[in-house]
Symmetry: C2
Subunit: 353 residues, 2 copies
DNA sequence: TCAATTTACTAACGCGCGTTAGCAGGTTAA
DNA sequence: TTAACCTGCTAACGCGCGTTAGTAAATTGA
């Protein structure tokens, strides 16, 4: 590997001169002739600066780390790819770490040891621990899609209220008055209470109230998700979604004429549960999803759903992180929202009389 | 940031002693007492070794780079995630780079400058250039899912023949004799001819011959794909797939009773084109896909398709790369195949008389 | 008792680079 | 004529670490 010393020798100058020229430092006093000689030597020898050494010497890195707890989940990688694109546009490189409940502390330490300039965390729980570790090392932190705003770092959230509002408006336009909700809760967070499910339920109630509709307690149910491992998305894991759907259907005459689900997968399972119970979708009941997975437009019926802006979330997280990397380190929390959009397909229709 | 010097001071020893203990070097002659003192000091001060400096000093990196040309494509990220998992299990970290025709040379240079220990390339074309660059820097290269084996580095391929063979066997069992093929070609490769489409067509012919079936030239068509950008997977891009399907359907009485498509997306478009032409799937014609996208099981009818082992491809690529990283550098080509599997769903059925 | 060995370390160099201080020679201004 | 300044560099230090050579003191062996 060619080093600066090699090209200094070839150009007949000192290594310092080479460093000055290659970093084209102003006021270094290297005249054009010498400058050209050095550059030509560098090109001729195929010199490539060692970024590691550069980082050690300068104490700065243009690398950012990305922690994911569910790498095989479609929303996860869409967010990653958004982050990757933004990072590259801003001149950073992205290092991805997958994380389990057992390994996530160790992974954060790895990031510290690699002296990464900043960290994006896309986790289900465990943010507190990540913060403690990064804060100690003075590493800026951005948290993406955590459900609720965190009391540290830059939290980047989808503005679910916008999409949810549009969804309910859509249902109201179809004449629906009684709308049920299947929330999603995680019983096995890394470390902490599950306030996410509750937050979602509040969000739903607020959105309903905005349209002058009330939500009986029996209309709000919750599926319980096992968090880790590739089985997250399989139907086998969604037994509780079936139970939640059946609970709503069993409410008799006063049952909801529409159901909002927190995830597209939940909506798919709910629809299947409805059909199996002899309830047609959307003729007898309308179902709304959340996420807009690639499979959702191929589902029968194609899902009406709130598109979560995964790509934009990743981009925003990186952008906010870079802001923090440029400034003095601060653990102060900030929150940034990215709008979501409702897209009407065929799982919703006019309310039955 | 705490350094070795800090903890040497605290423990009352030299920095060398600290280095010896923390790397628990054999025969360093540090007695247990001193050893404990140093370790305690390190823990107490929350010492984290600077892996960058370590890499500079030792000249070795446990980082591998991953170049992707189509990061938003489902098979791409499945492969990435496989690679990530394998890398972490082997104690490496993964740096992902997305690549366009304009930036891919620059990205390879970045990898060199970061002194990455090895590179996985998941590209459509351009392998030759990547090889030249990495070979000059003596960086091991693994190429994943390139369609055909490359004359350098470790090529990791899906053994499509296995799945294709199973698919044709499946069709033959349903009584099909006349099977058409819609291949996929890339007109805009990074640099070079498109021999991939041709290779696929040969593969198909061989598989058919194996089952005693011949393939008239008119049975083999090809869709032409625009390569880059997020529009790759949209239906808008698949006009040529519609044309290819119509060409097969227009063959009149002697037309194929089954069609194999090189991609699931192609199969979806082909099915739609059939239905629009009044040809029912699978009653009048059977259609087989390739890939097994997550949407494919939700498509109507659910696609019979060859599952490509994306995850395993990524894992294999990293494993082969790590082999090369351990040994003396060599540009010699090797090829590694990962089996594929056929999964029968509802887009195939008995041949019509 | 004294050389030979072992023990327990330290000093010093190098990795490739960024950066600051400074120096020799020429030019300018008073 | 001499101090002040500019030009065109170089010497030297430091980043945090791995590694080799070496050294003073303690121990051993004959």
């Amino acid at each position: 590997m060619i080093t600066m010393t090699d090209i200094a020798e070839k150009a007949g100058v000192s290594r310092s001169a080479v460093s000055f020229v290659l970093n084209n430092r102003p006021n270094s006093g290297i005249p054009e002739g010498t400058r050209q000689r050095i550059i030509e030597a560098a090109i001729e020898m195929g010199y490539r600066p060692n970024q590691l050494a550069r980082a050690v010497a300068s104490g700065k890195t243009r690398m950012i780390g990305y922690l994911v707890s569910e790498p095989n989940y479609e929303p996860s990688w869409k967010t990653i790819m958004g982050a990757l694109a933004e990072a590259e546009e801003l001149g950073f490189t992205l290092k991805v770490f997958s994380v389990t409940r057992e390994t996530f502390v160790e992974r954060v330490r790895q990031c510290v040891e690699l002296r990464l300039g900043g960290i994006v965390a896309s986790l289900i729980g465990g943010h507190q621990v990540v913060f403690e570790e990064t804060n100690r090392a003075q590493i800026p932190l951005a948290i993406v899609d955590a459900g609720v705003a965190q009391p540290f770092g830059a939290t980047v959230l989808a503005d679910d209220a916008i999409g949810l509002d549009a969804a309910i408006k859509h249902l109201v336009n179809w004449g629906h008055q009684r709308v049920g909700f299947i929330s999603s809760g995680f019983p096995q967070l890394f470390g902490g209470q599950d306030d996410i499910g509750t937050a979602r339920e509040r969000l739903f109630s607020r959105a309903m109230k905005k349209h002058g509709l009330s939500v009986p307690a029996s209309y709000v149910t919750r599926e319980t998700m096992a968090v880790f491992g590739p089985e997250v998305d399989t139907e086998a894991n969604l037994g509780s979604a079936i139970a939640a759907t059946q609970a709503l259907l069993s409410l008799g005459e006063g049952r909801p004429t529409a159901i909002c689900c927190w995830r597209d997968e939940t909506a798919m399972v709910a629809i299947r549960a409805c059909v199996e119970a002899g309830v047609r979708v959307p003729e007898d009941i309308s179902v709304v999803g959340f996420s807009d997975l690639s499979a959702s437009r191929f589902f029968r019926p194609p899902l009406s759903t709130v598109q979560s802006p995964w790509d934009a979330l990743g981009r925003m997280a990186v952008r906010q992180l870079c802001h923090r990397m440029e400034e003095e380190f601060s653990p102060a929390p900030t929150t940034h929202r990215v709008p979501s959009h409702f897209v009407a397909r065929q799982s919703t229709g006019p309310a039955p009389h």
